[in-house]
Symmetry: C2
């Protein structure tokens, strides 16, 4: 499948919308990232993903990953593609410069990640788990651990994986059974079986560093008794060379709906050697360092899938001749007009675009908050990024899947057969709504934790900030209404939840959708205000208008549904289901 990275939009968002040139120049660690350098990085990422990686996407799906006697084989075309990603330094772009990382701003990393996801989700899964693992090691590791693992992982010579889930313990990690026995030499002996371990075993690298959650013998019950361990495939000798094979093996890989070239392993730990990462019994918090990174990344996966799907559908709609415009033939010399004359086809394409471009702006805005928190110690930005992360994960992955389904619909029957590739995007995109905490879990996190923990204060502060932004005049009234609605609904839910403890859970998914719509409306109103007067800018303005005309109005229906209490959700007898 052809893929063209969104270079022009990236430039618009970074330099026109968010004006990073003014922000980064004030931050010593980022002042090297000039406009020229940034654009060169984006251009090189665009070249790599469009020319090298995208051509491996469909082949990878057809070939899939294979398991035999504990050995996992990835598609043949993946070897070179992964090497190019690794050797280009793309897995260390946001990494710690003290250990070989490139220390790029998260905003830039977000753009690169989107391209990597879009061009081949299965392939980049091996990368993103590596990146997430380095983040956990960098944040919680000892200086020796960082020195041992980070340089080799940033360079892509070694990969990472996270081992959380057990067959009976998915969302509910507190009931996991994997054990860690302290050994005399300070290491731990890890025993248990983990499932759904993305990239737990594969043939792309020489060593794979697992981060494994397990319980110490005297651990308190539940989530407060979970510790995190570094459990490499090959133990690392003191000189950094690879030693003996550790005591774990892949028991099988899953047969999945999509991301078929990503190996999802069952891993059996049989007294494997592990090293404590961070503090005892603080494993879940340490793992969340990685999870939060992964959650934004999975949102970018949804966005990448959505953009890849849009590009296929737009190209098909331009080429495919079928039917005539209701206002008279537009291509009178041809046998029929292009699909683009049909308003319903345009509606599908514009919906995809509005969510994709809105989603890209949203992801970069979250990235900006992460940068301000990390490099400026800005606590408000840190809290805001925590509020926005579940929205980025769930709303972008929901809209990515919806967009892929819409793109498939534009293709008609040709979208359902493998040949055109768009059905693969639908299958691949679906996982982003499920893993790294299902989107229901994200919604519960948003409303039940992030909004409730300060009674909506962070949200209100953000709404104030949105209300004071400079936006396109024509959208100001609708935006104001949307912001008022979000405040009104938030206040109402907080108030009513005191008497109705199931309310939060009953409304959280619709609430998340309302926040997503509202924040996208703000971004579209801002983008429309600064869009240039060229073709690119005109398209932005039309898409903004479409968003306000046709997508934002859904918020009215969401509010109307959020008025209900939890009774109708809770009163069905269990046996009646």
């Amino acid at each position: 499948m052809d893929y063209k990275a969104p270079e022009q939009d990236a430039k618009f968002l970074l330099f026109d919308l968010f004006r990073v040139q003014d922000i980064w120049s004030e931050i010593p660690a980022l002042s090297d990232f000039s406009e020229d350098l940034t654009q060169a990085i984006v251009a090189e990422g665009a070249r790599l993903t469009s020319e090298v990686i995208a051509p491996t996407n469909q082949i990878g799906d057809e070939e899939g990953a294979h398991w035999e006697d504990g050995v996992v084989t990835t598609p043949a075309v993946f070897k070179n593609a992964y090497q190019e990603v690794a050797q280009g330094g793309w897995l260390g772009i946001a990494g710690n410069p003290d250990f070989g990382g490139q220390g790029m701003p998260k905003m830039l990393a977000c753009l690169v990640e989107e391209m990597l996801w879009a061009s081949n989700s299965s392939l980049y899964l091996y990368g993103t788990l590596t990146v997430g693992s380095t983040l956990a090691i960098d944040t919680h590791g000892t200086p020796e651990q960082k020195q041992t693992y980070l340089p080799k992982m940033y360079s892509g010579e070694w990969a990472g994986a996270m081992a959380l889930t057990e067959s009976h313990a998915g969302t509910d990690l507190g009931i996991m059974r994997s054990r860690a026995e302290p050994q005399a030499n300070g290491s731990y002996s890890i025993t248990g079986t983990k499932i759904f371990i993305t990239g737990g075993e594969h043939d792309l690298v020489e060593n794979i560093i697992h981060l494994v959650l397990a319980k110490l013998p005297d651990a308190p019950p539940g989530t407060k008794g979970i510790s995190l361990f570094i459990v490499p495939k090959f133990l690392v000798d003191e000189d950094g060379s690879l030693g003996e094979r550790n005591g774990w093996a892949s028991g099988s890989i899953e047969h999945k709906m999509g991301i078929r070239a990503s190996a999802t392993n069952v891993i059996n730990y049989d007294g494997a050697t592990g090293y404590l990462l961070g503090e005892e019994n603080q494993g879940l918090a340490a793992m969340f360092t990685m999870m939060n990174y992964e959650r934004l990344s999975v949102g970018l996966q949804g966005l990448g899938s959505g953009d890849l799907a849009y590009q296929q559908a737009a190209a098909y709609a331009k080429d495919r001749l079928q039917g005539r415009a209701s206002t008279g033939a537009q291509n009178p010399d041809g046998p029929a007009d292009s699909l683009l004359v049909h308003p319903d086809v345009r509606r599908m394409l514009l919906s995809q675009r509005a969510y994709n471009e809105g989603g890209r702006a949203f992801a970069l805005f979250v990235g900006l908050q992460l940068d301000l928190a990390k490099f400026n110690g800005d606590k408000d930005a840190g809290r805001l990024s925590e509020l926005l992360t579940p929205i980025a994960k769930a709303y972008l992955s929901d809209k990515g899947f919806e967009g892929a389904v819409n793109a498939q619909q534009v293709f008609g029957g040709h979208g359902y057969i493998k040949e055109w590739g768009v059905e693969q995007i639908v299958r691949d995109a679906r996982i982003a709504q499920i893993y790294e905490g299902t989107n229901g879990v994200q919604a519960a996190d948003l409303l039940g934790r992030k909004v409730m923990r300060d009674n909506g204060a962070t949200l209100r502060q953000f709404v104030d900030m949105m209300a004071q932004s400079e936006v396109a005049e024509e959208f100001q009234p609708a935006l104001n209404e949307a912001l008022d609605r979000l405040i009104r609904v938030t206040s109402s839910v907080i108030e009513r939840s005191a008497e109705d403890p199931n309310l939060i859970g009953a409304v959280s998914t619709d609430y998340l959708e309302l926040t997503g719509l509202t924040m996208f409306a703000w971004l579209w109103a801002r983008m429309a205000a600064i869009a240039p007067d060229d073709e690119f800018g005109q398209a932005k303005k039309v898409t903004a208008r479409f968003f306000f005309d046709r997508l934002l109005p859904k918020a009215e229906g969401l509010e109307a549904g959020l008025v209900a209490d939890s009774a109708s959700v809770m009163s069905m007898l269990d046996d009646s289901f």
Copy 2:
């Protein structure tokens, strides 16, 4: 996958909601269908689909259909299952009794079809094309054609297929190229290549009767120059025995996202012998006899997939222990509570149920109109069935897919792997939104043809009828509001479309969703009014409340979006897509 046919709901809908005992007893052709006989038929259909067919569903997906040198092989388990469907007479249930059909009311056939779809969509595709073909032959055939084909097709000894699409001509059939040359003996020589021919070639029966659209040499251009032909795989001798192989062959089958055990053929007609069905150049109208049948049937496919998915998700949610209720442990002796304690899980299950049970009631209501039109010559009912058919096709298939996706979400990661089967339902359900006219085509048919052709008169008449129904008091105000909204939006769109010719196309999909929601609201309000005071009835009432609390409010958002004109949809430059 386990499947339990909805016997109790069928009884409730037929005898309590629609009171068919009062209707059928007044229609001579249907007066034999007593309550006892009807329940026995439903029970036997339930047994067949639950015990014989459902166990072939996952195996069929794994094995798929295979093509080699023009020979198409279906999964081994399909042979016996198809024989049981055929020998049980299930393909002739609604057929003409003069030629061996059983003349059942359409309402009853709808229930049976839903079960057949639910238990194995791939398998029933071979059946539904056969049923649709018999309907076209019965309506348009000569007495000799009926005698030659119908008995063998009703009995399932021969199958049917419809050959419309060409690679460049999908929705736009007017540009097809297949030719029919008249022969001296009154037959025609058919030449051309058709794609997407479901069941065009397979190994389940001894003969396959194609209905093929092609153009006569002197045909007028476009859709007015298309004729329909009967083109059997084996020519039939005068004594009814099979003669020589006809001049067509399967060139290949498609590799598809789902319904993998249904063979989707490319068929090459190379001077094949065809017999005109109906009048010259009237082929499209004749084909639409079949298409309209198929469209309701595809709606039932969506419903069947939705119910199958719901059943998997509900069973999983009851069994799977994960997390604790926010109001305190419900299963304190177990490691965790069941998923059912989580409001968001219940929300997903209740949404599925509300759309499934609403959809079943809606499909039966359409079936009732078809029965009244066919057996009583009721023209109002006929017009109403035409208005409702695109809604049945699109809304039920949209909600079936959405429900399957929701069911998959309830499973979390386990929903994405093949083992549990629910990902197959998602892949299978997706096609129902695409084939037999995409759901965008259905929306254009609903608003652009069925509503516009009488300026909304049939719709208004139906809204009046809904407003006068006896419904549960608690839902009367919300229902009235919904009915007013539908009238308001319809009037507004009709009025504005005079000045804005692209408006119909720009809003048709949202308009179809609004009609579906409104009509489901009416059915839920009626069902709640008559639901008995037992567990079944309580569940109905709770689901009705959930529908009014949480699903119907979406209509407010739809109306708000339908206010817009077509400008934002149409003003993007083609090159900017």
